[in-house]
Symmetry: C2
Amino acid sequence: MSSVIAVPESPYLRAPRRALASPLVVHIGVIGPGKVGTALLAQLKDAAPRLLRDAGLSLHLRAVTDSRHMWLDCDDEALNGRAHGAQTWRPADLDAFAAYVRGEGNAVALLADCSASDIVADHYPVWLGAGMHVVTPNKRAGSGDIARWHAIHEAAAAGSAHFGYEGTVGAGLPVIQTLRDLLDTGDELVAVEGMLSGTLAWLFNRYDGSMPFSALVREAHDLGYTEPDPREDLSGVDVARKLVILAREAGLKLALKDVRISSLVPAHLAEVSRDEFMERIGELDGAMIVRHASAAAAGGVLRHVARLDRTGASVVLERVPRDHTFANARLTDNVLRFSTRRYCDNALVVQGPGAGPEVTAAAVFTDLLRVAGAMGVKRCAC
Amino acid sequence: MSSVIAVPESPYLRAPRRALASPLVVHIGVIGPGKVGTALLAQLKDAAPRLLRDAGLSLHLRAVTDSRHMWLDCDDEALNGRAHGAQTWRPADLDAFAAYVRGEGNAVALLADCSASDIVADHYPVWLGAGMHVVTPNKRAGSGDIARWHAIHEAAAAGSAHFGYEGTVGAGLPVIQTLRDLLDTGDELVAVEGMLSGTLAWLFNRYDGSMPFSALVREAHDLGYTEPDPREDLSGVDVARKLVILAREAGLKLALKDVRISSLVPAHLAEVSRDEFMERIGELDGAMIVRHASAAAAGGVLRHVARLDRTGASVVLERVPRDHTFANARLTDNVLRFSTRRYCDNALVVQGPGAGPEVTAAAVFTDLLRVAGAMGVKRCAC
């Protein structure tokens, strides 16, 4: 038995295909070599020889840029690049970067935006219009200005270039494509419910009233699970961005301001400095223990839930029954429940780690492979 | 708020695209107009006008065939076709059918095999080699003779045609593509665990020892949840087929005989007539109540679990803890847990109804849209 399922030499494309007459050459530019960008560079480097041999896909890393430096004709030096704090992306440099990635000749050009920058997102329409593919986990385009969102999608629809953003919700979990497939085959969305923040999931999976909520936030902060300023997680805005992306995917012209967000940060602590917030974070505890006790008394637990349905979009901390899917997720799991006309009695559920550099980078890589698929590259199990 | 998320006229592709100069014409032939095939025909008919308008994809239903009749130049009559019991597919007729679907000219030709026939699967290599796409929920090709499986994938890899089989495991749940994306981006599969039978999930979600197991099987049989002969479900062979498909997708040269299957049908009832089995089905009850009591005494519940890992492939009824994902699935939910190098602490989980004509047909339709995507048709949210 063991020989039958022994893992073969190449873990994913076993039988070497016939050599392809002309491989598809893809010029790649990576924007934002932070944690996700660095993970993507490592994955591309690892996979490139196999993709060339087995699928006739030739990946060329042409350039890497952060908000201060460009590395052209990349080698391993680029892998050591790091984003430098504040993102002061210069438009002129980004255009020069894109032009360099494209190069001369007929290669397919793909820009992987691993930044979290609005300024980079501003460039997507022009790049797509010029035939360059854009793949990204950057939530700004999908959740920001609706006119820009339209311009991006119109540019992608009108030309030959693709815009991929699977990594914006749930990282490597199959979310955007799953929703797209449901809708394009004629299903109708009734509701999306989810736990879309790994950080908030971890906090409320742990919080049982036996310790102050603030102590858990401090622990999460020390473990690097939260943003440097935990209010970015606690405010619910990041989750609301993901909900806006899902809503727009379903054809709803939603903006961030349309989402009802109940922030976990009291108003009087919203504007103080980060240091002052961390000092006064204990002020969250009183309200939280009351909410926890109330939920427990009703036989439930607190969970941070994002919801989109016919009544609107909301991001709230709420009580769910103990046997609910959301109550039984673990660690930093994201959960997405798609209720549709076809999936009405039971929802279609996707669950798993929804954050982290490796799985987020894999989502960007998946988008890249989808672009290659649209250019004729085949992937299969043989 | 409500106006913002009012459902727009077209539920999936809102902003009409510019008219495409030349739509992609796809000639479609549907093989096996049973429940799934009929649902597919209805979905195609419903979606065709929108896909033409919004994506420049022109779907032409050319022909439908069951094992006895062909309907050419289809109209609504074809929608009333039904599979006729025993499948006596005639090879000569199938080749004539495929040739008719293809027609003259340069249209893309796609055959949707909604049968469960080995004879139809025998034709895939020739059809693919001739440039005709094949999409199917038929498990025979993926779980049958390994030489045929190789021939199918080699034919798809060598030519221009695609072979799609998303519907073979979990029906419309995103399973095959999810595994493919994990592997192609360089992740490594550690294990797949799942509940892959909606029928067996329903039985063990309901079974609590308070009524005879056989009474539940009879109820499921009366509700149409089981095959006409419930032994086809209880034997575990159908689940084992799905496990073989997943294993081969992961590059493992597994065959059905390599799966350790513990059938729920006692050996002395395996060969008797269906009527005799239904009369004597109470003979299952004694062993089952003992197993249930043993699981309950250990604080667990019985679940029918398929598993593939480094030690082999198995399909068994086993005890799982009450807080396990498998213990908390509902109704006929399928659950798939992918444990990989990247998804190691928590698995990537896909869960939801994994059977039924509509969701199975939607998987076939999704494969069709992927073929169209590889031919340059774009789908997007705008």
